[in-house]
Amino acid sequence: MELEISYLNTILIFAIFALSLNLLLGYAGQVSVAHAAFGAVGGYAVAYLFLEHGVGLLPGMVIAMIVSAAIGLVVGIPALRLSTEFLILLTLAVQTIIITLVTTSSAFGGTYGLQNVAGFTLFGQDLLLPSDFLPLFIVLTVLVYLVVRRMGESPYGRVLRGIREDEVACRSLGKNVFSYKLTVFAVTAAMAGLAGAMLVTQNQLASPSLFSFDQSTAIVAMVILGGTGNLLGSILGATVLVLLTPFFQNVLNFTPEKASLWRLVAYGVVLVVVMLVRPQGILPEGTTPITLVKRLLRRGPAAGEPTQSAAPDVRVPEQVNRGALVDPASIDLDEDAHALTELAHHGALPDTVVSAGRTGEIVLKVEGLTKRFGGITAAENLNLELRRGTITALVGPNGAGKTTVFNLLTGAIRPDTGRVTLHGNDISGMRPDQVANAGMVRSFQDVRVFPRLSSLQNVLLAIQGQPGESAAGLFLRPAATAKVERESRAKALEWLSFVGMEAYAEVPAGALAFGQQKLVALARVLATEADVVLLDEPASGIDQQWVEVMLGLIEQLRDKGRTICIVEHNLHVVGRLADHTYFMELGRITAQGSFEELTGEKRLAEAYFGTA
């Protein structure tokens, strides 16, 4: 019996490892192959404190988590600037360093580790047998599950998924991506530290082999097998892979040595086969037992075919459909969403948008903005003004630096010299998220919707003032979090219905046609309720019918007193929308005036506007 319970304990421990890695990998999209090493930090901390200083189990575990979190932060800081392939390299290095350190230092017992970590008591009871640990381990695992669930399946988790999908877009909506990443690194490292502490107390031993690279890959395999972004999947994955050991030893009667090698082979096979056959894992993101049963019932004999999406005309491009890690069949239209949609006004601008201030006043002022890349001048002494309730257009040939202007204004690129003032406040040198929070938001030429998030979630990420988007609000203000979330959903639906996309609220944005993605992206920009809106080629690359829709929407915005700047190649669009036009060539503004004045200039007409 004790043997079975020890397997159960091990499952609980690895469930914590897998759940926390899933928050990091599945939700936030940060790959780590050092998770076992963070476990080593916690495990060795508990063992060392107990053996050397007689620190008890619970205080030891708390200290273990703090130490692990601190090391998680140390790793997290350089990791902030890395793309996936180098993050893998960095975590590989961390795994090796930590294990090398504990293996080579005599204080930690070298290769043999710290032994006889036994004799813990809890509330006056001796903890010796696996069954003594079981109640504690169940409580800890449930706690970790609840925390991870709260962080993952909430507005906070939505931001994490946004970061996973597109950091740049996330930042442009005012999210401090750095602080989110750091928090997640620290929290998941702390949880791994806790799991490591549990592993050490259960084995009465802290040794390097408990936390080897093989263990790190085993944890990755658990998350991948269960399904990234699905917490129940992680528990399932941990259960299956932990039980491989007794399976090989007791069912197939392998020697322990052979069994452990075959177990590792099985981990590898799991990774390869899951990637080839079902990259989204056993339980895809967004699937719960309830949705699973529902879908099976609804489908009946046709199970196996993709579900018919209730929204019409959904084109599912290759990479979303067959692509990794998400199963479009798991898209489940939420009935509530439709009910809410009915209530929303069609095509009308939500009432929340009331711009204070007088039409025509200068909202954004740019003075002497200059940026050079090496020998190339991308922007030379730019001066421009955006006025409330007007549409300003930037036009000019390809490579004139129009998009660079947007990048400079929103902090994506730092100007060499020059000043940008928004509502009289100097915003030059601010990060993109700070600029967004100051009230200026941009769209992107290549839309940058979050492809695996639904249209509704795309827009929800833009709604400001959500307490549930901060870790503190999430745990300390649950009532406010729930209330604001309901309000935010209603608002987001209003914005979707403003752009006519409410029927697609639950469809992943990546599955929409390009024109539809542009509308969702517009709804997203507007939902920030930013005063100044920079639209990069809002009408390019989309069908004529969408162009009309788009222009109508932009005009409505202007009439509500927003300040709008567009970069556009389509002269028909500029002619219809622009109140004021700047003409750019080779990083300079060479002419300005009304569109008619510019097209009337002989030189420009020949060089750019053609004979029009």
């Binding site: 350089p78 690279f213 086969v273 990794a324």
Partner: protein, 304 residues
């Protein structure tokens, strides 16, 4: 720790050149694969290790001379590299689009684990597999001792690196490889099939890795875990040099890394010197002014 004397310094310099040349070869091999194909080929550990095992086996069983065993071993490594690309990576890349990097990494990690443990299972009764047939004679030049094996390692590594550099710079084949590295879609337009080039790159990279493995196992012995550190060094060298740089540049970075690591023995206990490389990596990552993104070409998600 070695005392800080000129003799020690010279001896460590020689050791650093030998190990650095091995890092150079690995960095060139792995960097070629990573920069041209964009595949995070973790299973480089396996093609590396199997080369050493095969070379040792054919050397012992059939009494092949070392140079022939080396070629056979490295060729087997190349075959596995090509096989992985053809059977696993390419299908994955075709179906996972924008997420290919992560998907291929996970699958490659899986291949590496499978390979490592199958090797351990196949050679379960073999404690360590020595590659024989090489007298490890030493030569004394003044205060410095050179080994014959060390000299061979350096010469072989740099012949391969220079040869690859020459092929990439001066031949039509090299132009094709560079074209595919910069833009595979466009290269298709001008009649170059990137798929074939990818296979060739996997063959060359795995062969180079295999050569390094056999030479390494001649010095010590083959073991199932022997591929892990080389992969790491290869990655660090490719990373520090910058992806897509000329093989000679990559090679010099590897050499530099070997020297730094070796010289650090003057200042610290030898069991810590392996951490020096990690230290360099960390400092580099932490202090590098620009964001390290976009160094790998990514599949562009289809729009419209």
């Amino acid at each position: 720790m070695s005392d800080l004397t000129l003799d020690n310094f010279l001896q460590l310099t020689v050791a650093g050149i030998v190990s650095g040349s091995a890092y150079a070869l690995l960095g060139v091999a792995f960097g070629l694969i990573l920069s041209v194909t964009g595949r995070f080929h973790f299973a480089f550990t396996f093609t590396y290790t199997i080369s050493a095992y095969i070379a040792a086996e054919v050397g012992q069983q059939y009494g092949l001379p070392l140079w022939l065993a080396l070629i056979v071993g490295a060729l087997v490594g190349a075959v596995f590299g090509v096989l992985f690309e053809r059977v696993v990576y390419r299908p994955l890349a075709e179906k996972s689009g924008a997420y290919a990097l992560l998907v291929i990494f996970v699958a490659s990690l899986g291949l590496a684990i499978i390979g490592r443990n199958l090797i351990a299972l196949v050679w379960i009764d073999t404690a360590s597999l020595q590659i024989t047939g090489f007298t490890n004679a030493g030569y004394n030049i003044g205060p410095v001792t050179l080994t014959k094996l060390g000299i061979v390692q350096v010469i072989v590594a740099w012949i391969l690196i220079l040869a690859l550099g020459a092929v990439l710079s001066y031949t039509g084949l090299g132009r094709i490889v560079r074209a595919v590295r910069v833009n595979p879609e466009m290269s298709l337009v001008v009649g170059v099939d990137p798929k074939t080039v990818y296979l060739a790159v996997f063959a060359i990279g795995s062969f180079f890795g295999g050569v390094a493995a056999v030479l390494n196992a001649t010095q010590t012995a083959a073991s199932p875990d022997m591929g892990f550190n080389p992969l790491f060094y290869a990655f660090v060298v490719a990373f520090l040099a910058g992806l897509g740089r000329h093989p000679v540049v990559v090679g010099l970075v590897g050499l530099f890394l070997g020297l730094i690591e070796s010289w650090s023995a003057l200042f610290m206990s030898t069991q810590w010197t392996s951490l020096v490389v990690f230290g360099i990596l960390f400092i580099y990552v932490a202090l590098r002014p620009v964001q390290l993104r976009g160094m790998l070409r990514r599949p562009t998600p289809a729009t419209a």
